[in-house]
Amino acid sequence: MYRYDEFDARFVNERVAQFRRQVKRRLAGELTEDQFRPLRLMNGLYLQLHAYMLRVNVPYGTLSSKQMRKFAHIARTYDRNFGHFTTRQNIQYNWIKLEETPDILQHLADVEVTAIQSSGNCVRNITADQYAGRAKDELADPRVYCEVLRQYSFLHPEFSYLPRKFKIAVTGSPNDRAAVAVHDIGLRMHKNQQGEIGFEVLVGGGLGRTPYIGQTIRKWLAPEHLLSYVEAILRVYNMLGRRDNIHKARIKIIVNQMGIDKYRELVDKEWEATKDGALKVPEEEIRRINAYFAPPQYERLGDATDLLQRQRAADRAFDRWARGNVVEHKVPGYAIVNVSLKAPGKAPGDITADKMDAVADLADRYSFGEIRVSHRQNLVLVDVKQADLHALWRELTALELATPNLGLLSDIICCPGLDFCSLANARSIPIAQDISQAFTDLDELQKIGQFTINISGCMNACGHHHVGHIGILGVDKRGEEFFQLTLGGSSDQHASLGDRLGPGLPQADVPAAIRKIVDTYLVIRQHNERFLDTYRRVGIEPFKGAVYGSETQAA
């Protein structure tokens, strides 16, 4: 993985020193809270309901075991023994003290991790496919471009005070696991007839209170122009994005107001003036960074097909896990292992300090010391020998990290909600807990098949509810929490926004409503079609009828 050189290291240390001064000035009253807020946000520090929350970047979802141990150390020393992985490939700590933050950031800098721009109206953590560099269906490793973008975006002097936050995601695979269509900029890799790599550039996607699927602003962008083109998009946005209304300030609003063609025209005009200038990414810089992402020293192995067959036949539980949580690796004899953070009744994405350490140990012993974080709030060990799968599974099982539910109904995305977040209208975690406890039968989960439930505690949509097959949005109605369901959302290469099913439901009714939707689906699905495909075929009516009864159906 990428390692800091002298420049990167000096930069993050200088950043910590700067923040130390800013905290000191705040505590001394030299900065007002209004002046301090954007400074702390750009260092990942939010003020939440009960305490400060620190959001730490896992750039493009790649983490070393050493870094994971540092996360555990911070959870133990400065927080309450746990952390929460988010849909932005970040980890959040919920009980942080302002005056300790510079020390925490220094600890992180020591292992080449930062919280820089994990918040604020600037370019956020660059996210990517969690299987990057290992997936069989991938054209090329997207992380080298993520790293180029990461460096480019850090403390960009022109774009540190954008109208609003700005999120970029990259996928190197036609099967989009990075949700690029719901980002301010989404980069989707393609290969041309000459075998060269290029990017399709999407712009103006995003969730929140006004969700949009991103539109293609450019079909083909050569990698050497990546930075100049992104800069052109950012500059047009910085100058024209709305600053009078925080709810209309995202790039998606102007792109959709003026239309993609007009926005493209402005960007192209800007880009023409800069594309052959200093922002051109030299081949040798790509090579330099790419070298860091060189695959580990794999053993020459054949696929362990026979062994796995025997092990799976002998042990039903292992069979289930191997079918669900293990993904094909591009190298023979190896496998990608998903570590579920979605045990029934647990808060999705949460993990204790002890388990962080345990996962780090497993990564060292089974997977070349590398860990990935997925935007679906699970962890991944990407380089496991197939022959080791059974042993690893036993260890994960003992840690309660082997729930075989990847991509199934109980693999729920969930934001922290009103239990922690000052923006939330409703508690999202209890809903996730209720649903996962209502669907614990593994045979049933398997029978239901591929299913995503995404839960947000407010319309800011950190839980990506618009793009869940079922989305659940917490709303506040006269002081009471209600939950609005949407159906048919998806964040993959065929992204779509969910449709509202009907009036909000009280918390107690949500699991039963999910049950009714699932039962309806099981009755009307054809062959083995996914819920999403059934929904796209039949529309919302049968589900509306199932949840609200025939009156609503008639109305």
């Binding site: 930069f11 200088e14 002046q35 002097p157 540190s160 100058m239 922002l279």
Partner: protein
């Protein structure tokens, strides 16, 4: 309001008349875009250095051809959170080759100075009890820069490649 120019405390030779109903008859003066457009001929014949003040919703693009008439352009930060002027500064320096004084006015604070320095500002109406100290602090914050901007500081990428 303290003015820092080229790293030193400076006396402001200009009178900012951009919000005034009447432009003073003599001496260096800063005018608004509207004043410039309405009184262009008179301003050009008064024989004093001219400055132009742009609001944060005024891009320099429409007046780019007029820039040779100005010794100073002042870009306004109505709130420190309003970052449009960073783009305007780069356009002025890098695209329109404006070589005069580029002054940051409005809510100009220590913690934004670093970004202003990098985008081409060389003068600051700094809100501070000790502006010179703040200026030096901001200068000393970083020794590594990732983005090529018009200020000519070498980026990390260039340094890695031996300064090219």
């Amino acid at each position: 309001m303290a003015l820092i120019k080229d790293g030193k405390l400076a006396t402001d030779a200009f009178v900012d008349a951009s919000a005034a109903t009447e432009i003073p008859a003599a001496g260096p003066v800063i005018v608004s875009v509207e004043q410039w457009q309405a009184q262009r001929a008179a301003l050009l014949t008064r024989g004093t250095p001219l400055g132009l003040r742009l609001r944060s919703d005024q891009s320099p693009e429409p007046i780019a051809a007029d820039l040779p008439h100005f010794a100073l352009v002042a870009l306004e930060f109505p709130k420190f959170r309003d970052g449009r002027a960073y783009s305007y500064a780069r356009l002025l320096r890098e695209r329109y080759q404006f070589n005069g004084e580029l002054r940051a006015v409005g809510e100009v604070l220590l913690e934004q100075l670093f970004f202003m320095l990098r985008t081409g500002f060389d003068a600051f109406e700094l809100q501070s009890a000790d502006p010179l100290r703040d200026y030096r602090t901001a200068l000393g914050d970083f020794s590594v820069w990732y983005q090529p901007t018009g200020d000519g500081r070498p980026t990390a990428m260039q340094l890695r490649r031996g300064g090219r």
